[in-house]
Structures are given as structure tokens and as C-alpha cells.
């Protein structure tokens, strides 16, 4: 993503806008997925974010902040959607597919990760997968940089523990076989 492209989009160049969106599709998807879980909801939220960005990109004052700005737009769309769905329980928290033999282990990992909470999952996603800096994550979520770092360390440790636990179980299963 270049600032030049953002400026072009701000000046009404729709192709530039579409290029920006395509370049950020994966990160938008991951951000939404970290909050929403259900694929349908993720699609709805990201579609809404694209529409909002289309009309609001002109308000972005600093093109270099495009990535954090679009992330914020996606997050807000996700929260809007959650508000609209208040009271509706998601039935898709569990994975749709997966090898049967890995199911239990996957569930353990997932349970472990579920204990992280939505915000931690979002923080991990933004930092590790979307390449945002600690500072940007902190600003996006309105928390201190220290809190972000603490949660990153905590989340990473949890993942590591879950991963190691699963590896041990795999080894145990293959040994029994």
C-alpha cells in the first residue's frame, strides 16, 4: 500500500480505492474473523467496512495511517453487527471441518484460546498476522502499549502451551498405535 494510492483514492480514483481494498482483504478478513467467528458475519462486516471506507476515505487526514484506519473501520463494523445481533448466540464457534483424529486436540487448543477472550484474540491477530505495531494496536483499541505487550506475551504463552499439549497428545496417540 502506498500513500500515493491512498491520496489517489481520496481524490476520487475508484481504481485506486479498489486496489487498496484488495491489498487489505486478508487483513480485513482476519480482523473481522477475530471478533465475529461466523463466516457470514465476517463477510457482512467487511462488506460494510468497504462501503464505509468508500465514503469516508476522504476524511482520513494522514494517508500513512490508512492501514490502522481501515482496521478501525472493520472493528467498528464488527461491533455494530454484534450490537444488532445482541441476544443471538453463535452456533459456529466450533470448526466446521477437521480431521477426526485431531478433533479432541483441536478442541483443547480452541478451549485454551477461547479462554483468551475476544480482545486478546484480536490483539494477537492485529499484531502477529496484520503486522500492526504495538503502538498502533494500542491506539486502535484504546489501551496502553504496556497492556498490549502484556496481552501479547500472555496470549503467546497460552498458544505455546496449547500447541505443546497437542503435540504431546499426538505423540502419545501415535505411540499407542
Amino acid at each position: 500500500m502506498s500513500e500515493r494510492m491512498v491520496k489517489k483514492a481520496q481524490n476520487g480514483d475508484k481504481d485506486a480505492f479498489l486496489t487498496l481494498m484488495r491489498e487489505n482483504e486478508l487483513s480485513m478478513y482476519r480482523t473481522a474473523k477475530a471478533i465475529l467467528h461466523r463466516e457470514d458475519d465476517v463477510e457482512d462486516a467487511v462488506q460494510e467496512a468497504v462501503c464505509r471506507a468508500f465514503y469516508k476515505i476522504g476524511d482520513l487526514r494522514q494517508p500513512r495511517y490508512f492501514k490502522t484506519w481501515i482496521t478501525r473501520v472493520v472493528i467498528n463494523c464488527c461491533y455494530d453487527l454484534l450490537r444488532d445481533q445482541r441476544g443471538i448466540v453463535s452456533l459456529e464457534l466450533l470448526p466446521e471441518t477437521g480431521y477426526e483424529e485431531d478433533r479432541d486436540a483441536a478442541l483443547d487448543v480452541r478451549e485454551s484460546l477461547a479462554a483468551l477472550g475476544e480482545n486478546d484474540r484480536l490483539i494477537l491477530t492485529l499484531y502477529y498476522l496484520n503486522d500492526l505495531s504495538v503502538r498502533d494496536v494500542a491506539k486502535l483499541l484504546g489501551i496502553s502499549e504496556g497492556a498490549v505487550k502484556q496481552r501479547l506475551v500472555h496470549g503467546r504463552r497460552r498458544f505455546k502451551e496449547a500447541y505443546e499439549m497437542r503435540e504431546q497428545e499426538r505423540r502419545a496417540v501415535s505411540y499407542e498405535k
Binding site: 483514492a9 481524490n11 482520513l60 478501525r72 473501520v73 450490537r83 491477530t125 499484531y127 502477529y128 484504546g142
Partner: protein, 712 residues
């Protein structure tokens, strides 16, 4: 270093500490995380959904807002603080010099300016009557002189025009600078506010103390060392003799600042042809200034003046208070500025004293003189009503008209083709003047002095128009209601056309071509200058999505007649997003002093009631019509919910509706305050109100008593 913004004392940049091992961003873990969270690749359904939304987007994208308009729109910019600090900074100086002088940073400039301002003394003899010469319309030609600069930011300084009557030298200057570079210098990177153009000025060595004090404001505790800072003072000489002082010209607010004795300042201009951020095209900021220099005594007999400008450094000062900044430089020097010479022919025959002065709508001109570079006049203006009669938002908080400023105090000088050449707020708020005026405002006059500088050129005629109010003062109300400023119908108090060939001034009606009206001076104090109240309430201002004390808020101001609403028990403001009630700000019992539970630093330590989701306070109003009805102002500041905030772009979804309710009964008092506000402002500022009044006035012109009672 060429022309780079240079700060006075650069602090050592702090480097981020290395990322700790505990959250190192290693590819192995990233891959593992993506896999576990099922985020490696979006499913095909997602890609299809994206293609669908791309195809459904409109063909044309909305184009980016003009930065300066955005800044004004949100005042956004700093709601209250920057009302004082940014937009109305300059204008406010003429009204509240003590306030502007106390501002951090630029306050010292104002102090210097105001300290040098000559006292208005009614006993001061009128200016010597200039010669009425045969060749009064002739004047020497001046070829513009452009001084270029080989820098990154400054482009060129042009002496567009110059003229001298032998005693003063008038220079009309313009400066081009690269907008983007100025923005980089003036706007801290993280500030969500709009672009506030910096103040640019040249300093002369007579104002070394001013520079020192400015420095202390911006860098408290640091030692000021002008040599170490690398100051190079500007100087101007005429026929080899140094110009000792810069005459103050008392032009309109924006130009007034240019004429400080402390500096040769230049003023940001918005021009239609300015190109912003277009691909491949550099955007230039244009600054202009009228400088008036005193010709040194030893050079006054000369017929030709050889002027030498030596302007090595241009000083730059941001208008954001240091404590509000998160980065960027508050003050800098732009080096390698300008140096050049040119000649000006002295023209001692260009002055004209106008005669046969006539009155218009009870506005009298008692004296008027003209030179190609200056128009001065003394006017007697009758009482037409106060700006507060309009019920437009008061200046104190919203940048609206000063409630007790009399109508008819905004003077505009236009050319033959209608081009505005200069404008000036001629309101004199001196205690003496106010007292005399208050004592007999209906039969008395307010004596006003006008002095504006003009770009020196030959003219056949000029038009002098007095308007009810300064459009800049009501612009914010229009912006916040989304009304195009071009729709402003500013009532006319009087209009005169000056025939410079004949040396006369007579009433004229050019304003009619613009669809403006001139309320009858006899009637004006008695008529309502606002639409009828709804339920005893005038929705004065609805200002949305502004930054107030570090919070994103909307600010609602109501002007109410409590006597008409005795049934209301608990005032409250309810705000919706979509159909969902998301925020309620309650009022407190205003009769109970202890109900105010907080003091707001952003409101000059005003006592307010904080209900958790916003602030409320009540103030007694200034006069709102000649009957001195008792109005009260109710203010609600409502915060946006946390989840509706965008860290960089502000509010994601503005409130879709705001209702005023009686919380005790749940009864809605007024629904959709934004819509009501817009309607009221449109009626007040876009013509229909005054046109109806004009029709009413003409119908009852001979029955002033009866008409007055009808309107009240």
C-alpha cells in the same frame, strides 16, 4: 540546509526499545496462529462477497474534503479551545485583546501588536485634510517584483503593488509556499484536527524581545539565545535609510495581524485555483499581507524611493497550543528567504477628501478621505439592534456573533465589479463608547472610524457597505448546520457608492442585485431577528463530532423561555444511532447550586453537571430582543460511546437523532433538534426571515408603532 523548517532547540528523539522476546514476531508462530485461528486464507465465499461489494459500489467516489473547510466544519478542531485559539484568534484580538494576549505562544505577538496600537481618542484632531488634486485618479505605475527562493518550502515573494504619498510606503505582498511542506511543519502527525494554517511573519531586530518571549512560551525553561538559534533579522531600507517602524493600518481582522509592529506578517488565503494534493501537481499556499512602512525623514523629499528588502528568514508559528500538541514543531524558521530591490515613485497628488456626503438609512458619513492605498471614514451608525437579537450562537463558545455587539458594524469596501477589496469590523467596544451608546441607544449614534488599506491602483469608484454582522462570526453556525456559506443573507445597514472622479459619496442599492435586504433603521430595533420559538425554545446550535476536552462530543445549545415551559420537570437530551437510544444526558436542578458537580477546565472552570455521559449547564442569556425578554441558555455536551469512536478519523456513526425530553414523564419536548436547528438557521441566515420582514416593513412603513407591536 536549504529552506527547511528549523526548530529552535531540537530535543533528542527517543527510540523505541527493541521488541522483547516475549512477543517476538517470528514467522513460525505467525503461521501457527493463522492456522489455529483459521485465518490462513479466506474462504472462497469471502472472495465472492468482496467481488460483489466492489461491483455494487457507486461509479463515482466522493472526493476528499477541502482541508480548511473540514477544519472549520468540526471546529473540530478544538471546539472551544480552538475557537479561541484558531479560527477566531485574530478577530478576537480586536474584541478581547487581553484574552488573545494571554494565549500561549502567539499571545506575545498580539501583545506586541496591541501595545503598539494607537489609542482611540475622540479628541484627537482629524487627519490633515489631504489635497484634492486635479490628477487625483492618476498614479504612477508599479511593475510587480518577484523575489524567488531556491528552497523546499518557500517559492516566491511578490511585491504585487507599491505606492507612496511620500510619508508612507504601502506594499501589497504575496507569498507562495508549498502547502504540503507547510502542513508537515504545522500539523503534528497524530492530531485529528483539521489543518490550521500557521502564521508566517518576518521579524525585525526591534522586536527581539517579542521573539524571546514567543520562544519561552513554546519552550518553557529553555534558554533563549538568538545567536545560537541562528536568527537573522529582516530589514527594509528606503534610499539607503533604514525604515524604523511599520505603521499599523487597522485593516480587517486577518490583515490587522499583518500590521503588527512586531512583525511583517502574511496571511493564509484560500483561493479557488489552489490545487491540493492532486497527482503530479504541487499545491501552493498563498499568503498575502499589506505592509505599511514609514518613509524615513531623510528620504521624504525624494521623488523616487529605492526600496531594499532584506528578509533572510521567515518565521513560522503554529496556532496549536503547546500543551495540545502531540508532536511536530510549534515554531520554526524557514531559511533562505528573500532579498531584492525595487523603486517606487512618490505620488503626492493622489489624496482625495470626499465631499457632498449623504446619509443612507440613518447612517451618516461625517468624513471620508481616500488615497489609492487607503480609505478612511468616520460614520455615525444608529442603533439597529444587537447581534444577540438573532439568537445565533454566542461567540463565547460557538464562534457566533457577540450578543451585545450592535448590528451594522461590519464594513466592506468593494471595487466597481463587486470584488471585495477590504473589510473591517468597526465595532468599538471601549467602555466609554459602550456606556454612551447604552445610555441612549435608540436616539443616539455610534461613532465609528473606518480605515482600510487597499492594494494601490487607479479607481473610478468604490462601494462601501455596512452589514449587520461579520459573516465569519456566523459561518460556524452555518457550517455546523450544513448550510452553504454562500447562502448567507447578511442584512445591509447602509450602502454608499464613492465617486472618486467627482469626490462624492451617495447612497446606492447594489446589494439588491445580490438579493440582500436593508431593514429600515427605524424598525430594526423593534423587530424579531429570529423565527418564532418552537415550544418556547430556539435550537441555537447543534455542533456535531467535535473534540472537547479530549472527548468526541456533540454540543447542543438551546435558547429557552422557561416561563413558557413550566411543565417540564427534568430536562434531558436523548441521542440515537439508528433507532437505538445510545446516550442520555440529564440536566440538573439549576436552582440548586450544589447540583453542579464538576468544574470544566475546557470551559474556563465553569460549574457544570456531569451525568456520566455528558455535561449540562445553564447560563442566563444576553438580550435577545428590545423587550429584554428573559431567555436562558441550556447547553448539553454529549459524549459518543466508546464503541463508536475511530482512533484516527473520529466518530464512525454520528447521532442520527437527538431529542429533548422531560425525563420525569418521558414526554418528548422537541424531536430531532438537528433538523429544527437547520430550519431555524436557514430562515435566519438564508433570507426568508428578512425578506418577510422587509415586506412587512414596507407594508407598515407609516405605522411604526403598530408594526412594532405586531412583531413582538
Amino acid at each position: 540546509m536549504k529552506n527547511r523548517g528549523k526548530r529552535f532547540t531540537p530535543p533528542a528523539p527517543r527510540r523505541e526499545k527493541a521488541v522483547r522476546q516475549g512477543y517476538r514476531r517470528d514467522p513460525e508462530f505467525c503461521g501457527f496462529l493463522a492456522k489455529e485461528l483459521e485465518m490462513e486464507v479466506p474462504p472462497e465465499s469471502f472472495s465472492k462477497a468482496m467481488r460483489r461489494v466492489y461491483a455494487e459500489l457507486p461509479r463515482d467516489m466522493p472526493v476528499r474534503h477541502y482541508p480548511f473547510r473540514s477544519a472549520m466544519k468540526s471546529l473540530a478542531t478544538v471546539a472551544v479551545l480552538l475557537v479561541v485559539f484558531g479560527v477566531s484568534l485574530l478577530g478576537a484580538n480586536s474584541v478581547y485583546p487581553q484574552l488573545t494576549e494571554s494565549l500561549p505562544g502567539v499571545g506575545m505577538l498580539f501583545k506586541a501588536m496591541n501595545g503598539a496600537k494607537p489609542e482611540e481618542n475622540p479628541d484627537t484632531p482629524e487627519l490633515p485634510v489631504p489635497l484634492v488634486a486635479e490628477g487625483k485618479l492618476a498614479m504612477p505605475e508599479f511593475e510587480p517584483v518577484t523575489l524567488s527562493c531556491q528552497g523546499d518550502i518557500l517559492e516566491e515573494l511578490t511585491v504585487e503593488n507599491a505606492w507612496s504619498d511620500g510619508e508612507k510606503l504601502y506594499l501589497h505582498m504575496s507569498l507562495l509556499a508549498l502547502e504540503s511542506q507547510l502542513q508537515t511543519l504545522s500539523q503534528p502527525s497524530d492530531m485529528p484536527y483539521g489543518y490550521i494554517p500557521p502564521v508566517l511573519f518576518f521579524l525585525t531586530d526591534a522586536y527581539r524581545d517579542v521573539a524571546a518571549e514567543i520562544f519561552q512560551e513554546y519552550y518553557p525553561g529553555e534558554e533563549f539565545d538568538d545567536k545560537a538559534a541562528g536568527y537573522q533579522w529582516s530589514s527594509i531600507s528606503i534610499n539607503g535609510q533604514k525604515v524604523e517602524s511599520v505603521m499599523e493600518t487597522r485593516d480587517p481582522a486577518y490583515l490587522q495581524y499583518a500590521e503588527t509592529n512586531s512583525a511583517l506578517a502574511l496571511h493564509y488565503e484560500e483561493t479557488e485555483d489552489r490545487v491540493l494534493a492532486k497527482e503530479g501537481v504541487q499545491a501552493f499556499a498563498r499568503y498575502t499581507g499589506n505592509w505599511v512602512l514609514e518613509v524615513p525623514q531623510g528620504a521624504r523629499d525624494a521623488d523616487v524611493f529605492s526600496v531594499s528588502l532584506n528578509l533572510p528568514q521567515l518565521f513560522y508559528a503554529g496556532v496549536i497550543a503547546p500543551e495540545m500538541r502531540e508532536g511536530g514543531e510549534p515554531m520554526a524558521i524557514l531559511e533562505d528567504a528573500f532579498q531584492g530591490d525595487f523603486t517606487v515613485e512618490a505620488d503626492r497628488s493622489g489624496a482625495l477628501e470626499l465631499e457632498a456626503l449623504q446619509a443612507d438609512n440613518k447612517v451618516e458619513i461625517t468624513q471620508m478621505s481616500y488615497t489609492p492605498a487607503e480609505l478612511t471614514a468616520t460614520l455615525n451608525v444608529p442603533f439597529l439592534g444587537y447581534c444577540g437579537y438573532s439568537l445565533l450562537p454566542p461567540a463565547r463558545y460557538h464562534g457566533g456573533p457577540v450578543p451585545q455587539k450592535p448590528y451594522g458594524m461590519y464594513a466592506v469596501v468593494s471595487g466597481e465589479d463587486g470584488t471585495v477589496l477590504a473589510s473591517q469590523n468597526i465595532w468599538d467596544d471601549s467602555a466609554t463608547q459602550r456606556a454612551a451608546y447604552e445610555a441612549d441607544r435608540l436616539s443616539g449614534y455610534q461613532r465609528m472610524k473606518l480605515r482600510v488599506n487597499l492594494s494601490p491602483e487607479k479607481r473610478q469608484s468604490l462601494v462601501l457597505t455596512l452589514y449587520y454582522f461579520d459573516p465569519e462570526e456566523v459561518k460556524f453556525a452555518m457550517d455546523s448546520a450544513g448550510i452553504p456559506a454562500g447562502d448567507l443573507v447578511n442584512p445591509v445597514a447602509a450602502e454608499f457608492t464613492l465617486d472618486l472622479a467627482e469626490g462624492t459619496a451617495a447612497p446606492s442599492v447594489n446589494y439588491e442585485k445580490q438579493g440582500l435586504v436593508k431593514p429600515d433603521a427605524e424598525m430594526s430595533p423593534y423587530i424579531l431577528h429570529h423565527p418564532e420559538l418552537q415550544e418556547g425554545i430556539y435550537v441555537q446550535g447543534v455542533t456535531e463530532d467535535i473534540l472537547f476536552a479530549d472527548q468526541r462530543v456533540s454540543w447542543i445549545s438551546l435558547c429557552v423561555r422557561p416561563d413558557r415551559l413550566p411543565w417540564v420537570q427534568d430536562w434531558a437530551l436523548q441521542c440515537y444511532i439508528g433507532d437505538e437510544l445510545v446516550q442520555t444526558v440529564s440536566a440538573c436542578d439549576v436552582q440548586d447550586d450544589s447540583a453542579y458537580n464538576e468544574r470544566s477546565g475546557a470551559l474556563e472552570d465553569l460549574a457544570v453537571y456531569n451525568s456520566g455521559s455528558g455535561l449540562f449547564w445553564r447560563e442566563e442569556s444576553g438580550q435577545s430582543n428590545y423587550e429584554d425578554d428573559n431567555y436562558a441558555h441550556l447547553h448539553f455536551i454529549v459524549e459518543y460511546p466508546e464503541w463508536d469512536l475511530d482512533s484516527y478519523g473520529g466518530v464512525i456513526s454520528s447521532f442520527s437523532r437527538m431529542d429533548l425530553v422531560d425525563a420525569a414523564t418521558g414526554q418528548v419536548i422537541l424531536e430531532d433538534l438537528r433538523g429544527i436547528n437547520r430550519t431555524l438557521l436557514e430562515e435566519t441566515l438564508c433570507g426568508s426571515l428578512y425578506k418577510e420582514l422587509e415586506e412587512g416593513n414596507s407594508a407598515g412603513a407609516d405605522e411604526s408603532e403598530g408594526a412594532a407591536s405586531d412583531y413582538n
